[in-house]
């Protein structure tokens, strides 16, 4: 009896929440009221992607787009595929994915395209034939280059540094590390990468690893933290250690970095405007769905971002941006 009650209760609960379901459109012409764009981050619980969502929603509201936002809550490599499959079944006009695993997701994205659904990748790309357009904010080479420039400047062209990464298997970070190693060999022979430690996207872990690192390798003078929770974690560890000869740089979010930028422990944070990235992605998706995306200079009218150049299947937001103590107050995400 109790079980029947549970079943009924669940049904009622689900009915209360699920009022918006039903009546899916297949791939093809936009349903009345604007196209449906399904947008997926790598990981829903990351503030980086939360700000992309905000920007995307802003564009969706302006353009009359119905925006679906879903994705893995853990970094399970297989989950993104399942979500895309569900969207194909549900029927959407455009799928926009920030790709966690290039090879894995490309299979299912090709399937979506075969069904007439437009595919956009943003933030991280899939295989070229699996998507219509890639909205890019920075290439892995570009990111590696900017990070190494900052590191080299802080070390005076010569010295040792260490990297705090996300998890050891994180695809994006591994791509950046690969490029960093290549550029170190080619352009910075006097810089030495001493160690790479994982933070598993946990600030405390980044803190602990940095603390240990500073003692095991006292010659390290720069910590490069390439995951957003790792930046404040590493900076706090350096601050607490009292080692004023060590500086931190990396890739992270302005709000979490602000206090450390202000007091000088954190020298520079490389990123791009994530809200604009989300905004641009939805603009592109909308244009694709309505068939208004044109090639060449100014091929996309990206609302408040102005006209954007469309270079084949590649649209670039801009170049990586460096937050510093001077400019960080102008941002809120």
């Amino acid at each position: 009896m109790r079980r029947l009650g549970v079943v009924l209760g669940l049904a009622v609960l689900a009915a209360a929440c699920g009022g918006s379901g039903g009546g899916g459109a297949g791939g093809g012409a936009p349903a009345k009221g604007g196209p449906t764009v399904a947008m997926m981050p790598k990981n829903k619980g990351n503030p980086y992607f939360v700000s992309c969502h905000k920007g995307g929603q802003e564009a969706a509201d302006q353009l009359g787009v119905k925006l679906l936002w879903d994705g893995p809550t853990e970094t399970d490599p297989a989950k993104q595929n399942e979500v895309v499959e569900a969207w194909i079944t549900r029927g959407v006009d455009v799928i926009a994915v920030s790709v966690e695993n290039k090879e894995a997701i490309s299979t299912v994205l090709r399937k979506a395209r075969a069904k007439g659904i437009k595919v956009v990748t943003w933030d991280a790309d899939a295989e070229k034939d699996a998507r219509d357009v890639f909205v890019d904010q920075a290439t892995p080479q570009g990111i590696a280059s900017v990070l190494l420039d900052h590191t080299s400047r802080l070390l005076g062209g010569k010295g040792s540094f260490a990297i705090i990464t996300a998890s050891l298997t994180a695809a994006n970070q591994n791509e950046w590390i690969k490029n960093i190693r290549e550029q170190l060999a080619a352009k910075y022979p006097d810089l030495k990468l001493v160690d790479i430690r994982p933070s598993d996207d946990d600030r405390k872990r980044a803190f602990d690893e940095t603390q240990t690192l500073l003692k095991v390798h006292p010659e390290v003078k720069v910590i490069m933290a390439i995951a957003s929770p790792a930046v404040p974690g590493a900076a706090e560890a350096v601050r607490q250690s009292g080692r004023t000869d060590v500086k931190v740089t990396g890739l992270g979010l302005p709000n979490a970095s602000k206090p450390y930028l202000k007091d000088g422990v954190l020298d520079s944070v490389v990123l791009w405007n994530t809200m604009d990235l989300g905004y641009l992605t939805v603009s592109v998706a909308n244009a694709l769905a309505r068939g208004t995306l044109k090639q060449g200079k100014g091929g996309l009218d990206a609302g408040r971002l102005g006209p954007k150049d469309v270079d084949g299947d590649h649209i670039v937001l801009g170049t990586p941006f460096t937050f510093t103590k001077e400019n960080v107050d102008g941002f809120d995400f």
Binding site: G45, R203, K204, F207, T212, L213, K215
Partner: protein
């Protein structure tokens, strides 16, 4: 072997392993024993010890709690939000501990009250709490906390002392209580034989409920002790905490079948498992081998314990 040594066989084993590890470090990487490093390790592991004390109680009572990671995250968020309302830090800490106790009470009610198996109940609460928190916060950190949040406003040195002192006080109090108080003995009794315990007037269900509440409260304290080392609160903290703490407790000799084990063993377990990571970094091991070595240590610790009884059984049969 004297009777005392026999009773503490596991604890001696873990102590032996710890001595071995420290010996290795003395030879290869003596920098490990620098004052700053030892101090930092103490501060880093103090919250783990606090949570492990709670887990010891739960496992002694023949239960388990795999939801403490989610509880940890929620209590950290509670601390941050309470601090933002302007409450003085002692009340903030009390609030977070109370939140933990409330979460523990939910587990306790389902396990002790409804008689549901602890591992399944806490699996369910782990998922519900974590997903619920993530849904609500979307992963956004709690920022712009008042200045007195970090280190309880005591400054870096004072705050560190406070954290370690809190862990020591908790450990000592519970170690004493488990030994000397009737309530402590009741935990052992309920865990080793609930029927017999009932016959001597102990209420096993109340004991079990209490252990879950303590677990929650101590998790809340651990969350506070961690949160105040920073200037903001990460809302997705505590992932994997339950595995870490359970491993430390069982390596320290607390029997998973209940009724056997000591807090001293837990302390040794926390120390051993908390030392491995940094020790490996000092010894120059690559980060990607660390997890395998942790797993190997756990297996070795729990297996060597069983070998003597295996030998005895074989001999008995022959």
């Amino acid at each position: 072997m004297t009777p005392a040594a026999g009773r503490y066989r596991r604890e001696l084993g873990v102590a032996g392993a710890l001595v071995l590890l420290l010996g290795l470090l003395t030879v290869i990487a003596p920098a490990f024993f620098g004052a700053a490093n030892l101090r930092d390790l103490l501060v880093a592991n103090a919250p783990v010890l606090v949570a492990a004390v709670g887990m010891t109680l739960v496992i002694l009572a023949r239960q388990i709690d795999i939801s403490i990671g989610s509880q940890f995250a929620i209590c950290g968020v509670a601390a941050g939000l309470l601090a933002k309302t302007g409450l003085p830090m002692p009340l903030v800490a009390a609030g977070a501990v109370a939140a933990g106790a409330a979460l523990g009470a939910i587990n306790g009610a389902l396990v002790a009250g409804l008689g549901l198996p602890a591992i399944v109940v806490t699996l369910a609460t782990m998922v519900v709490l974590r997903e619920g928190l993530r849904w609500r916060t979307e992963g956004v950190w709690i920022q712009d906390l008042p200045e007195r949040f970090q280190w309880f406003g005591l400054g870096q040195a004072g705050g560190r002392v406070a954290i370690v002192a809190a862990a020591i006080v908790v450990f000592a109090a519970f170690a004493w209580g488990l030994r000397r108080l009737a309530a402590g003995r009741a935990v052992y009794a309920a865990g080793s034989d609930p029927e017999a315990a009932r016959l001597v007037g102990i209420h096993p269900r109340r004991v079990v409920f209490a252990t879950f509440v303590f677990m929650g409260a101590l998790t809340g304290l651990a969350a506070v002790l961690t949160a105040i080392q920073f200037i903001d609160v990460q809302t997705s903290a505590g992932t994997g905490l339950e595995m870490k703490v359970i491993a430390a407790v069982v390596v320290g000799g607390v029997a998973i079948s209940g009724g056997r084990g000591t807090l001293v063993g837990t302390l040794l377990g926390v120390t051993l498992l908390g030392t491995i990571g940094p020790a490996l970094t000092f010894l120059g091991t690559q980060a990607y081998w660390e997890r395998a070595l942790q797993g190997a240590v756990i297996l070795l610790a729990v297996s060597t314990d069983a070998l003597p009884s295996l030998v005895r059984r074989r001999r008995g049969r022959a």
